[in-house]
Amino acid sequence: MANMVRRRSTSARLWRFGLYALLIVAALVYLLPLVVMILTSLKPLEEIRAGALLSLPSTISFEAWIKAWSTACTGMRCNGMSGYFLNSIAIVVPAVAISTFVGALNGYALTKWRFRGANLCFALLLFGCFVPFQVVLMPMARTLGWLGMASSTTGLVLVHVVYGIAFTTLFFRNYYVSVPDEMIAAAKLDGAGFWRIFWRILLPVSGPIITVSVIWQFTQIWNDFLFGVSFAGFDSQPVTVALNNLVNTSTGVKEYNVDMAAALIAALPTLVVYVLAGKYFVRGLTAGSVKG
């Protein structure tokens, strides 16, 4: 688009120059917090107290990282982030797998077997994308208590599956709508049933939307704080809750380098996913909006 900038007059050149300058400055602003985080996590504490936010560390030290991982205090305990990191993995893996699978089945049943009331079903499910979770916190806390799942990672898996299904169903439904119905009709004539069509026809073409759904659910659940802080016990806290506790633990000296290393540890998994599969990440973000 915008190919009217063909003439290379002086003013056009100036405009291009200004454009690039602006975009690069903006990029630096967006990068600044990440750069400061990395620099601070590699500096010894004395250097941080001396100021100079942006100066390079005189010697690179990974001590803060090691401390954040294994011995930093989060509240009353001083075992670092490692255990909570594993908690997050134990929550994320089953929750992502289950919610994606259920979303795929829902999307399939709602688009390729349009029973009466299918649209109403979808509309009812969809509202789960919008409900402010504050409305469900107290009842959920009671329910988890009755189920004996309070303060466990199993409870958090349940919570994330329950409120993730709305999104995954939306993703898969919008994707399967565009799979030609003729393919399904032909398979039915050949005698293929519900499950066979799902495994043999729909799933093989679902690669991209599975990626979108997995990435979306992964980032949502990994980054969740509200459910974690509301429902987790000391032993089942996810990494975000531990990070918040670590930063707010006010015993002894404030160790900014350890704080930053811990923040980076909490951020790394989603950052890696974003860098590796950014395209799908964007698609997930925009799935519910532009395309609707």
């Binding site: 688009m1 915008a2 190919n3 009217m4 900038v5 454009l19 975009l23 967006y30 917090p33 990440l34 400061v36 601070t40 936010l53 942006l54 259920v102 829902n106 399939y108 049943a109 709602l110 077997w113 349009r114 649209n119 079903c121 009812l124 789960g128 409900v131 402010p132 504050q134 409305v135 469900v136 916190l137 107290m138 009842p139 169903t169 709508v177 119905d181 009709a185 039915k188 049933g193 519900f194 980054n223 704080f225 509200l226 509301s230 975000t240 990070l243 930063v247 704080d259 923040a263 951020a267 989603t270 950052l271 974003y274 860098v275 950014g278 990440f281 973000l285 909006s289 532009v290 609707g292």
Partner: protein, 309 residues
């Protein structure tokens, strides 16, 4: 959100129905049923439950002595709630407008055949992949007057430079705006960029042939055709703003005092730490009303737009 009704019904009718066929016929419904049951209980049931709790005198534990709408009256008379609600309007308004302006400008600039566009896009968008807790922790460090940006600029020789909003109860709410805009504006950029790419090139060429200038083309042709994107962006951003909880917890903790409380933190504090479940539930219901107030007009216009083609 586009009920797609034109596809032909396939299978079913006019075939002999064995028992297996009967099961097969109900299978799609059986597959969707658990999810629907889950939604009915965990979303709609809980909404009702919280509403019921908001009509009771529950304190440390839920109990069911009904007091009518007394909790709502208490809520509206509560100074801290009024601060939280006002904060949401200020924070939400500034957050949405800033994200829209920055996102739109970045998208338009990126759409000028920029070299390394992919790399720049990646940089603008990466904060969206972070947890708001991480964002809060980082910005709390950057905005720390003693060691953060204020100290940095002072060390450059501007001794009088002051940027201590984090500890200033009148200004602290704006630190939330800064961090939230940093996190979400790249996302709005991505939305707008997708919208811009969807505009027909010939529109541009025709307008350029007519001698329209670039800014004029953007104002008169591009912006109006981006209206649906603006609409969705506002919807999503407003939703983020109403739900904002993590950021406040990590960046300001609601402080100084309760100067940066938002409804989400108010609700959490009263329900889980202050033993005021009835009042907390009433505030949760008010948040739901806020979301509905945005959602219903949005869905209405979406559906109407579809019906009109």
């Amino acid at each position: 959100m586009s009920p797609h009704v034109s596809s032909p019904r396939v299978g079913g009718k006019g075939r002999r129905r064995s028992l297996a066929g009967q099961v097969e016929r109900f299978l799609p419904r059986l597959v969707v049923a658990p999810s629907l049951a889950v939604a009915l209980f965990f979303v709609y049931g809980y909404m009702l439950w919280t509403f019921v709790l908001s009509l009771t005198d529950s304190r440390m534990l839920p109990q069911y002595d009904f007091v009518g709408f007394a909790q709502y009256a208490r809520l509206f008379a509560n100074e801290r709630w009024n601060v939280a609600a006002t904060n949401l309007v200020v924070f939400g308004g500034l957050f949405i407008v800033s994200c829209l302006v920055i996102g739109l400008l970045l998208a338009i600039f990126l759409d000028q055949r920029i070299r390394q566009e992919g790399a720049l896009r990646t940089i603008y968008l990466y904060p969206m992949a972070l947890s708001l807790i991480v964002t809060g922790v980082v910005w709390r460090w950057l905005l720390n007057p003693g060691l953060g940006i204020q100290a940095l600029v002072r060390s450059w020789g501007f001794e009088d430079f002051t940027f201590n909003w984090l500890v200033d109860s009148d200004m602290a709410i704006y630190t939330l705006v800064i961090a939230a805009v940093w996190q979400a504006s790249g996302f709005v950029m991505a939305l707008f960029l997708a919208g811009l790419r969807g505009i027909d090139d010939s529109l541009f060429q025709a307008a350029a042939l007519d001698g329209a200038s670039l800014p004029r083309i953007y104002l008169r042709i591009v912006l109006p055709s981006l209206r649906p994107v603006v609409f969705s962006a506002v919807m999503i951003l407003a939703h983020i703003a109403i739900k904002s909880f993590d950021l406040v917890m990590a960046l300001t903790g609601g402080g100084p005092g309760y100067a940066t409380d938002l409804p989400a933190t108010f609700m959490y504090a009263h329900t889980f730490t202050r033993g005021q479940i009835g009042l907390g539930s009433a505030s949760a219901i008010m948040m739901l009303c806020g979301v509905l107030a945005i959602l219903v007009p949005y869905l209405y216009s979406e559906l109407r737009g579809q019906r009109n083609g």
